[in-house]
């Protein structure tokens, strides 16, 4: 499996990934005032990582300023969509094959980040009751209001938000097909159906199915954020991997293992969450998932301001699971061969 970290473009971060034995990286480019990602910038990023022997095949986030009018259905969305089309074409030319985007009009939601985890590790938490009482607090991600770029000035039903997404995809999926780029929709984290009167539409497996069925195309699929999907009420994570993996709709994945589901959950270490992560790795292998999977959020550990220890642990854990799954399957195959 193609295990990656999300990194900034610095030699130090590249070295960190290489020392952990990784070959893949994902990342972002900053929002561009032109409204699209320039071919030169994309090529420069790919070449930078290639020089460090890391393959850069996934844009983690389409910059929100590039398409927020499309998300909200605001005047000017057609111009933004045309610019996103340019981004997609440029990615195709640069050989970057997956564009992840999200359709969270009000961003990601967490209500707490406190030393309540294992050994006092700092753990992020979502609690719907808290979010209802103090919505603005739920938009504060960890240390600052990073996602507080839109304030809802009106209510939007789920169907209105679906209409906006459908409008976006109808225009861009054909572009993606032509450019050889896969559009990967990240589910709404936290997966609650609406927030502050604004619908959140990718918050159940049925929603994810509706997304891929809306515009049937090999280029329309999922940024399969395991952490988010695991926290959808009632979801069996392994079945979810099998369901969307068999449809070849997992274009990119996030490896994370929270504890709990909506209405509340904690982002604990990956070896103590609710999902059997070895079974998850085996499910990805069973459906022959061949995309990049990135090690996602981690609890914050002691004396680790850049979270390198926490991520070294997570990479070690994930690699161990993948190695073990491969070795167990190889042993099984050779047993079969002997019979």
């Amino acid at each position: 499996m193609k295990i990656a970290l999300a990194l900034g473009m610095s030699p130090q971060e590249a070295q960190f990934a290489r020392q952990l034995g990784l070959r893949y990286v994902v990342g972002n480019l900053p929002a561009n005032p032109t409204g699209y990602l320039a071919l030169d910038d994309l090529l420069r990023a790919r070449e930078f990582w290639a020089r460090h022997d890391l393959s850069f095949d996934v844009i983690e986030n389409l910059p929100t300023p590039h398409y927020y009018k499309a998300m909200f259905g605001l005047p000017g969305r057609d111009e933004q969509i045309e610019h996103v089309a340019t981004t997609i074409r440029n990615m195709g030319k640069a050989g970057i094959s997956v564009l992840q985007y999200q359709w969270m009009l009000l961003g990601g939601l967490r209500t707490d980040f406190s030393p309540t985890g294992r050994g006092g590790a700092h753990v992020s938490r979502f609690d719907w009751e808290v979010a209802k009482r103090a919505p603005i607090a739920a938009m504060v991600w960890r240390s600052g209001p990073e996602t507080l770029i839109h304030s809802p000035d009106r209510e939007l039903s789920r169907e209105q938000v679906w209409d906006n997404l459908t409008y976006f995809l109808e225009r861009l999926v054909p572009v993606a097909e032509e450019a050889g780029v896969k559009l990967a929709a990240h589910p709404d984290d936290a997966p609650i159906p609406s927030f502050m009167g604004v619908g959140r539409i990718l918050t159940s497996l049925e929603d994810l199915q509706r997304l891929v069925d809306t515009i049937p195309s090999p280029n329309n699929g999922l940024g399969f954020c395991q952490g988010t999907i695991a926290t959808m009420a009632g979801v069996d994570m392994i079945e979810a991997i099998q369901r969307f993996g068999r449809q070849k709709k997992i274009f990119f994945a996030h490896f994370r293992n929270p504890r709990g589901q909506v209405p509340s959950f904690d982002e604990v270490f990956p070896d103590e969450g609710d999902t059997d992560m070895l079974a998850a790795v085996r499910a990805y292998r069973e459906v022959e998932f061949d995309g990049v999977i990135r090690v996602d959020h981690s609890p914050g550990t002691v004396d680790d301001p850049r979270m390198e220890r926490a991520f070294a642990f997570q990479v070690g854990y994930f690699k161990g699971l993948v190695d073990a799954a491969e070795l167990l399957d190889a042993a099984h195959d050779s047993d079969q061969g002997g019979n």
């Binding site: 960190f16 020392q19 985890g117 006092g120 550990t301 642990f313 070690g316 161990g320």
Partner: protein, 296 residues
């Protein structure tokens, strides 16, 4: 098997590190040997919800005369027995010891994966520093006095072999360790098995060594690292660079019913890491936790 870390329990940050990254047990790396220090070490570990797997290693300086067979060794041995009795009262189940006055070995540095700094051990710090005949006599004298104390205290003594850099047929070889256990038969005497011993062995040989001592209940603790035998010596690498061997070793420990502490040693040194190697150890803990899960 229990996932463990060797650390100084008087450093709070390292105890938290172990707790947060999911270690089950600690091998206490202490530098004071009076009852109060040992008691405080145990309390600190247990307060955080971790178990005391043992005390990492009795420093050979405490029993240098016993190793050399010099006058004064009986006083040293009495002190070792006192420490063992204190550990027993503190319910510390394991005490590591060595039989050499040398350090681990001379190490050079070469580049490892991704530009890490990787140690290459070029000469053993094993038992070669004591003339072979005398080594066995002094060791037998020591064990015949210390092991009964260990049995009374309920503390198991775990011999920590030096690296087999020279390939010598001394104590720190499979045959030598066999002879060690014959010196003073006791169920309280076993091995702190360092995977450095397996450097240069085939995986099948490694598994048969684990089975052999595991079936005899001689494996008390395990220290996991990957030392690759090269032309220059034994080069440390990351655990996942020899994944099949490690996986087979863990399966073998599981199969022989090993229930003791297993801990990652230092990895190649990553950029901007501490001298203790927090990042490399974090990687090792995560990797081992996953393999534990897979063989359970």
């Amino acid at each position: 098997m229990q996932l463990a870390l060797t650390l100084d329990p008087f450093q709070d940050a390292n105890l938290l590190f172990a707790q947060q990254l999911g270690a089950d047990q600690v091998m206490a790396d202490v530098s004071g040997w009076d009852a109060d220090t040992l008691s405080a070490a145990c309390n600190r570990i247990r307060q955080g919800g971790l178990q005391v797997a043992g005390v990492e290693s009795l420093p050979p300086s405490l029993y240098a005369r016993a190793i050399a067979g010099e006058t004064g060794r009986d006083e040293e041995i009495a002190e070792v027995c006192r420490i063992i009795a204190d550990l027993g009262r503190l319910r510390v189940p394991l005490l590591g010891y060595r039989w050499t006055l040398a350090a681990e070995g001379d190490a050079a540095s070469v580049p490892g994966r991704g530009g890490t700094t990787s140690a290459v051990y070029t000469a053993g710090g094993g038992s070669a520093d004591v003339a072979a005949g005398q080594l066995w006599q002094t060791l037998a004298y020591f064990l015949q006095r210390v092991l009964p104390a260990a049995e009374r205290a309920g503390v198991r003594m775990a011999y920590q072999a030096g690296l087999p850099t020279t390939g010598a047929e001394g104590l720190d070889s499979v045959a030598g360790l066999e002879r060690l256990f014959a010196l003073a038969p006791s169920a309280s005497h076993g091995l702190d098995l360092d995977h450095g011993l397996f450097a240069g062995m085939s995986d099948d040989e490694m598994v048969s060594v684990i089975r052999h001592w595991g079936q005899q209940q001689r494996i008390f603790a395990v220290r996991v690292r990957y030392l690759d035998r090269t032309a220059d010596g034994l080069q440390e690498r990351f655990l996942d660079e020899n994944r099949l061997a490690l996986f087979r070793a863990l399966q073998a420990y599981q199969a022989v019913g090993f229930t003791g502490p297993l801990r990652p040693a230092r990895s190649p040194e990553m950029d901007d890491d501490t001298s203790w190697g927090h990042k490399g150890r974090a990687f090792g803990l995560g990797y081992l936790r996953a393999l534990f899960q897979a063989i359970a």
